[in-house]
């Protein structure tokens, strides 16, 4: 079987990433556990290969592989805007405008999907708890408190 970059991207289209514990690869702007990607695309049982082997394969195809870092709280970038999370939260949400998201840490998107139902189902399936779910507004008007008067 031959894997190429396009096949990986196509194969993950519409697939929700599983929770990232430590290692991840970035495909189509989303973070996937490497073993999820390789297992899904090859049909191999996850017990038959290691995370490092999966990372190596995906890196060879040109995908960025990284390790989740513990963040330092309360140190906004020098000279950055005076925002509650130093702009990191807005940056984390930017790829998901118009979609429902579940936040874990303030700047950690656990999952993004087109409906609240998909987000809630994902949380239940993976026994994850969000700090909050919402649909990222696609315009300033959607983020206003325009309640009926």
């Amino acid at each position: 079987m031959t894997l190429d970059r396009g096949a990986v991207e196509r194969g993950l289209d519409g697939v929700l990433p599983e929770p990232v514990r430590e290692h991840y690869v970035i495909v189509g702007g989303r973070r996937f556990p490497p073993k999820q990607v390789v297992s899904l695309l090859t049909g191999l049982d996850r017990a038959d290969f290691t995370t490092h082997q999966a990372r190596r394969v995906l890196k060879r195809l040109g995908f960025v592989a990284a390790r989740k870092q513990r963040r330092t709280v309360g140190t906004p970038p020098a000279g950055g805007p005076a925002l509650p999370h130093g702009g990191r939260q807005a940056a984390a949400l930017a790829p998901y405008v118009g979609r429902w998201v579940a936040l874990g840490e303030p700047d950690e998107v656990l999952v993004a999907a087109n409906t609240a139902r998909e987000v809630v189902a994902w949380l239940a399936r993976h026994e994850q708890r969000a700090s909050g779910i919402f649909r990222v507004p696609s315009s300033a008007a959607e983020a206003e408190g325009l309640a009926p008067r």
Binding site: L103, A116, S131, I133, P137, A140, G145, A147
Partner: protein, 143 residues
């Protein structure tokens, strides 16, 4: 309990919004972020959330046609348990379909009546603490 404002991606700079996570009934794993809207008379959420939380809208206390942000929507009012800042309380909620906003809205009846709320826009946080003696709620059909 203090909540930092939510940073949203904006065209030129991040938008900041005072939101709090609200657990609907027993949907613990997915609290809905709701915007604190002191100008709103009532709590209003997407009807999609009612179904996910197992809240029946079959026998609402009231039904109303509303205009929200230029959109006609149907609101069904039911009483549900909400949990905010570890405080669980019974509140009237209008579940609306369709719902154009990214958040739920928390209004006077059903939220501000039950919580003392302090905003610090200068420091980008909002603090909510349960009122010790909330006045009894009004008829939800008036909210």
């Amino acid at each position: 309990m203090r909540f930092p404002f939510l940073e949203l991606p904006g065209e030129r700079q991040a938008l900041l919004r005072p939101v709090v996570p609200v657990q609907i009934e027993d949907l613990e794993e997915a609290p809905l972020l709701c915007l604190l809207d002191s100008g709103a008379t009532a709590n209003r959420l997407s009807a999609e959330l009612a179904e996910l939380a197992g809240v029946s809208l079959d026998s609402p206390l009231a039904v109303d046609e509303l205009a929200v942000a230029g959109l006609r929507t149907t609101g069904r009012c039911v009483r549900v348990d909400l949990t905010v800042a570890s405080h669980r309380f019974d509140a009237p909620v209008w579940f609306c379909d369709p719902w154009p906003f990214g958040f739920g809205l928390l209004g006077q009846e059903g939220f501000f009546r039950s919580f003392r709320v302090t905003f610090s826009a200068a420091h980008d946080w909002v603090e909510c603490s349960p009122e010790r003696s909330a006045a009894p709620g009004r008829d939800p059909r008036r909210s």
